[in-house]
């Protein structure tokens, strides 16, 4: 039997190659150059690589191809997410330098792992086969297990890494079991083949198949932090170094949702299993929103609060799956984009404010920020309002889009619960605004942010407001992205 070595279509995976190349280069450099150089060069390389990759990704916009025996898809959907991951990577590289210095993480591995994580995400969202998805997922996860534990002397960081690893591996078993059961029920591992097979008509919903879907939901529910698979999230987010938290909250979440969407929308579009799945998502969405918000309500630590709020946002995003059509998917894409900017902005602010002794930031630490640094306070307000979903911030447009889809599909109660949850969320988001503006500062000294975080915050604020007022271009772009692969 002939071994068919596939044509290696490099021209389609230039961004991936650049990212990987940069990561490897950083590793090499780490081995062969001095500490100062590493600090500067690795950051430069990571940034330059991400930007270059972003450029090529953007250049690939509009192209569609299935490469490596159709295991790897190049399409606008994937391109959108790749670009998003690269932007996240750029922002995090930009914003985290001071943080790394303060915590003595000067290793190039940080950037390398960051890029490997991005590579994993890129592979994930471009895959059409369970195998590739799984490999990409693991590449991303393993990078992040390590990233979480980068503060090796910090109990919280190590604990976070430890917990994430154990529970991640545990959840992976469920994910794999789900894939295995699907395989047992259908005999295929490729999403398109699955679609063709399911569409061929000689298939019915066996318990095995449904169980496979259930386990798949469990596994990805873990990654997307849906209740009740969310419980690791606050602990891991809190303990991890803040840039990594930002990375997880935006990148990992986006990647997981992207994959979940692929899994649902490629094979199960218009299929008989979908309604049941949608019902499940309806339930999960509500549960996730409520639990996330209610628990966030009682948090003192800001990072932990943001962690819970990210759970709640996952709940909002699930609305897209409940609705289960392409337009809803576009809404989700838009929301993820917006969410990335506002969340990274908020986390970058946390990095700036973080205390020397590393104890977790509480609301009290935000006291009087409006006096200590009015700009930062204003920026934080923008992010928080955007997270709440108050116009004219982008978060509002995101919610408008998502809830609009829910309404259009006549999921009225889901939408009602969703918006009521955002009222609940307003309470804890505004609490920080309250501390920033209404209370007197605990220390009088001005907070100064260095250039990197400052740039990130500026970018995030700009995008958050811009997309809040002029969402049209991006939404239309996404509409293009959303339609393309299916």
């Amino acid at each position: 039997m002939m071994v068919m070595i596939p044509e290696f279509a490099f021209e389609w995976i230039i961004p991936e190659m650049i990212v990987m190349g940069c990561a490897l280069l950083i590793l090499l450099m780490e081995a062969f150059s001095g500490e100062r150089d590493v600090r500067v060069h690795s950051r430069f390389l990571a940034l330059a690589g991400s930007i270059a990759a972003l450029y090529f990704t953007a250049a690939g916009w509009g192209h569609t191809a299935g490469i490596f025996n159709n295991l790897y898809l190049v399409d606008n959907y994937g391109t959108f997410f790749k670009a998003l991951f690269l932007v996240i990577s750029i922002l995090i590289c930009l914003g985290s330098q001071r943080y790394l210095e303060r915590h003595a993480i000067v290793m190039g591995e940080y950037y390398a792992l960051l890029l490997f994580g991005v590579l994993g995400m890129m592979v994930m969202v471009s895959s059409s086969s369970f195998i590739t998805i799984f490999i990409g997922l693991e590449l991303m996860s393993i990078s992040i297990y390590v990233l979480c534990g980068l503060l090796r002397e910090n109990h919280l960081s190590v604990e976070s890494s430890f917990k994430y690893f154990l529970i991640g591996a545990f959840a992976t078993a469920f994910l794999l079991y789900g894939m295995a059961l699907l395989y047992a029920a259908t005999g295929v591992l490729d999403l398109y083949e699955l679609r063709d097979y399911l569409g061929s008509g000689d298939f019915f919903l066996t318990p095995t198949f449904m169980a496979g879907l259930a386990f798949l939901t469990v596994g990805l529910g873990f990654k997307t932090a849906l209740v009740p698979f969310h419980m690791w999230t606050p602990d891991v987010y809190e303990g991890a170094p803040t840039p990594v938290t930002a990375y997880m909250a935006t990148g990992v979440k986006a990647a997981a949702f992207a994959v979940l969407a692929r899994m649902i929308f490629i094979p199960f579009d218009m299929q008989s299993a979908l309604p049941y799945w949608q019902e499940l998502f309806w339930l999960l969405a509500i549960l996730t929103m409520i639990v996330g918000n209610i628990t966030a309500l009682v948090q003192d630590g800001v990072k932990r609060m943001l962690a819970y709020s990210s759970i709640a946002h996952a709940g909002y995003l699930l609305i897209a799956f409940t609705v289960g059509n392409i337009q809803a998917l576009e809404a989700m894409l838009f929301y993820l984009l917006v969410y990335a900017f506002m969340n990274i902005g908020a986390f970058t602010l946390l990095m700036v404010l973080e205390k020397k002794n590393g104890s977790p930031l509480t609301c009290e630490d935000f006291s009087g920020l409006a006096k200590r640094n009015p700009f930062l306070a204003l920026a934080m307000t923008v992010f928080l309002l955007s997270l709440t979903g108050i116009p004219p911030m982008a978060g509002f447009m995101g919610k408008l889009y998502l809830f609009g889809m829910a309404i259009r599909a006549e999921y009225y109660w889901l939408a009602v619960i969703g918006v009521l949850n955002s009222v609940l969320a307003a309470y804890y988001y505004l609490r920080i605004v309250m501390f920033m503006y209404f209370k007197d500062p605990l220390q009088e000294d001005r907070v100064i942010s260095s250039a990197g975080p400052f740039a990130v915050i500026i970018i995030a604020v700009t995008v958050t407001i811009y997309l809040g007022i002029f969402p049209r271009t991006v939404v239309n772009l996404i509409a293009y992205a959303g339609f393309a692969p299916f």
């Binding site: 068919m4 596939p6 490596f68 295991l71 195998i131 590449l139 990078s143 297990y145 390590v146 090796r152």
Partner: protein, 180 residues
């Protein structure tokens, strides 16, 4: 004794062994014992693979799992000091056992799912006849370097990341870290 009966016999034996050894693994206090019981489990699972005609995987199972991974784990167990699990706080352990019993529901569900299995899947092209001619390992190799070359490459990066990660996490303390 015909082949089928033999297969049955073998299967039953190995399956029971697998289950038994895994139960032993879970219940042993001494982690080293646990690890060793797991080696037994892995090996017996390799036999199951053989029964299912997956020779390559069976071999890999023994080599990679029972061999490499378990050795690594045993090393680490020894490195981090043998630790016996003492009496746990009652309440906590009771909670855990409650969890364990509830997990039996999961088992029931899995059992139902397994037993109500229908062969609804799509037939692949690697029929026993094909395998006869090509051979399991060769077919596997062809797929890995052919169709699945891309994940294979990514897996290599994954391994690299694993190495780097392990090194990053456990290498000597950074000499120039600030004291906090």
């Amino acid at each position: 004794m015909d082949v089928i009966t033999l297969k049955w016999l073998l299967f039953m034996t190995v399956a029971l062994l697998t289950i038994g050894s895994s139960i032993m693994m879970v219940t042993r206090r001494n982690p080293i014992h646990s690890a060793l019981w797991l080696v037994v489990t892995f090996c017996s699972i390799a036999v199951i693979y053989l029964l299912l005609g997956a020779q390559f995987i069976a071999a890999a199972q023994v080599i990679v799992y029972a061999g490499a991974i378990m050795m690594l784990i045993l090393f680490v167990i020894m490195l981090v000091r043998l630790e016996k699990e003492g009496a746990e706080e009652r309440r906590k352990s009771r909670m855990k056992y409650a969890g364990a019993y509830l997990t039996l529901i999961l088992f029931l569900e899995l059992a139902v799912i397994s037993l109500t299995f229908f062969m609804t899947g799509k037939e692949g092209r690697y029929t026993p006849e094909v395998m006869e001619t090509a051979g399991n390992v060769r077919a596997m190799g062809g797929l890995l370097y052919g169709k699945y070359l891309f994940p294979f490459e990514i897996a290599s990066i994954l391994l690299l990341v694993g190495i780097i990660g392990a090194v990053v996490l456990v290498r000597g303390k950074a000499t120039r870290r600030k004291t906090d």
